[in-house]
């Protein structure tokens, strides 16, 4: 769905820190939302922890930088990183251009998604959350 100026795909889950989660079997693909990339604007650097690193839900898993600002990325789920998007090192602007596609950040082998899910939002809930923030 589209809310205000922001794309919010229906089948993903969302965190309050504006990360998204797409579950694929035992793993999840994670990234930052359209809202996040529009707020950050002109992303010029992205770094995610290495493959094999274990991450906890809502703990720092990386950093994105725009020309003027530095922001932490918080993992929306707990687990172990199995892949990171190597393309972002060379083309961090993919985070702006295609946040739900080629701008994905990492694949994470899920530790306990049922537990994580309790603290995530559906697309509808996230849309309401964004509306509330913009007011």
């Amino acid at each position: 769905m589209r809310v205000l100026d922001y794309e919010i795909p229906d089948k993903l889950y969302y965190s309050k820190e504006h990360e998204w989660v797409r579950v694929e079997g035992e793993e999840a693909v994670v990234g930052i939302t359209d809202y996040a990339q529009k707020q950050l604007h002109e992303i010029v650097y992205a770094e995610v922890q290495k493959v094999g690193a274990s991450v906890e839900q809502f703990q720092t898993m990386g950093t994105v930088e725009s020309v003027k600002s530095v922001s932490d990325i918080f993992s929306p789920v707990s687990g172990t990183i199995t892949r990171v998007n190597e393309e972002l090192a060379k083309s961090p602007e993919l985070l702006n251009q295609d946040p739900y596609g080629r701008g994905w950040l990492a694949r994470i082998n899920l530790a306990d998604f049922d537990k994580d899910l309790k603290k995530l939002m559906t697309a509808q809930q996230y849309a309401d959350y964004i509306r509330g923030m913009e007011e």
Partner: protein, 378 residues
């Protein structure tokens, strides 16, 4: 945003077209289209900035030259009417109170343009130190709008709406001209490293922004054929950093002296008397211990203010300004380092988060001056 923030004449334009930020008590645009395209417009063609938030004070009277020679570090006697120079005001210890551009409008009339963040303090400092001189110090900040039109096509853009020949105004000279039919003053100065002008729309109080808006719109219209971009404070900062220019509060303040900051060229120790002379003379004689340096990152990491600078496993200084350079597409920074390390080509490390990232000491400006900046080969 708090309603107590000050606004410039162009507030409505900014609000409708830019992402806004708070800066020095003003509600200002940080970017319109984006820092990178705005930055590149200035390097490659032309951009316009609203810099009305800066402080503007007129100094008039028989002893205005003597007073300014006393309160600033540069040689005001050498400034001919309709000329400008960059200068500093220091405290008695030689610490920098502010940096600014001083223009001599007439023999006994000067305009000083200083940092927005220091508006109140600078004005008080000027008034306080003017007491034993026959001068008048008048804050005209709220009655003059100020824009910077910067880039290799700045002159061509402005000429379309100016009634005097701008090609006759050389770098660091100034002059009166009608702009879009209104009374204006221009100086060939700026904070980007590029050729360009700072434009003053005279007698345009904040309460009646019509004239300021008219000139702003006329410049945008005139610059259309050159792809002019309105530029926010974001590009203003990346441009000045690439040019190696200091930002007060980051790279210079009362704990740094002009000699340490590499601004010795505006300190005229031969002058009979000026505030800070004794301390600066002593420092010059003894030699400075640390120096402002430029750092170019060798990898992809972006240095930021407060990051530590290391050499051979030892901390040697801190980054004072750091950013991603839109032109060079890598991280650049300013820092202070002991003079023995402040050598061009010296490899150091910047601690970016938990990583020691390689950097090299480089000279200012960061870019190739044959290709960019006011002295570029045409």
């Amino acid at each position: 945003m708090s309603t107590t923030l000050k606004r410039t004449h162009l507030y409505e334009f900014h609000r409708q077209t830019a992402k806004m930020t708070e800066f020095a008590g003003f509600e200002m645009p940080i970017w319109y289209k984006g820092i990178i395209p705005e930055h590149m417009a200035v390097r490659n063609s032309v951009g316009i900035f609203d810099i009305t938030h800066m402080g503007r004070t007129l100094i008039t009277g028989a002893e205005s030259e003597a007073f300014l020679n006393y309160v600033t570090t540069n040689d005001v006697a050498a400034l001919t009417p309709l000329s400008a120079h960059y200068s500093n005001m220091c405290n008695e210890q030689g610490g920098i109170k502010d940096d600014f551009v001083l223009s001599r409008l007439e023999k006994e009339k000067f305009l000083i343009v200083y940092n927005a963040a220091n508006r109140a303090e600078d004005y008080e400092w000027l008034v306080e130190n003017s007491k034993r001189f026959n001068v008048r110090v008048e804050d005209v900040s709220d009655n003059i709008a100020m824009f910077a039109v910067q880039g290799p096509n700045a002159q061509k853009t402005l000429q379309k709406i100016a009634d005097s020949d701008l090609s006759k105004i050389e770098r660091f000279k100034c002059g009166w001209t009608k702009l879009a039919g209104l009374e204006g003053f221009v100086s060939r100065t700026g904070y980007t490293g590029e050729d360009g002008f700072e434009v003053f729309v005279w007698n345009t109080p904040l309460a009646n922004p019509v004239d300021a808006v008219k000139v702003w719109n006329a410049i945008l219209e005139a610059g259309k054929e050159f792809g002019i971009e309105p530029c926010g404070l974001g590009a203003r900062d990346t441009l000045r950093l690439e040019a190696g220019m200091c930002l007060y509060g980051n790279d210079i303040d009362e704990t740094t002296t002009p000699l340490e900051a590499g601004l010795g060229f505006v300190v005229k120790l031969k002058k009979e008397v000026f505030i800070g002379k004794e301390a600066l003379t002593k420092q010059k004689t003894e030699g400075i211990k640390r120096k402002r340096i430029g750092l170019m990152m060798l990898g992809k990491d972006i240095p930021r203010p407060q990051h530590e600078v290391w050499k051979n496993g030892e901390k040697i200084g801190n980054v004072t300004s750091g950013t991603f350079s839109p032109l060079l597409e890598r991280g650049i920074a300013m820092a202070y380092a002991p003079v023995e390390h402040a050598v061009e080509g010296n490899k150091v490390e910047v601690k970016v988060r938990d990583k020691f990232a390689e950097a090299q000491v480089v000279k200012f400006p960061f870019y190739d001056t044959t290709k960019y900046g006011y002295a570029r080969q045409k």
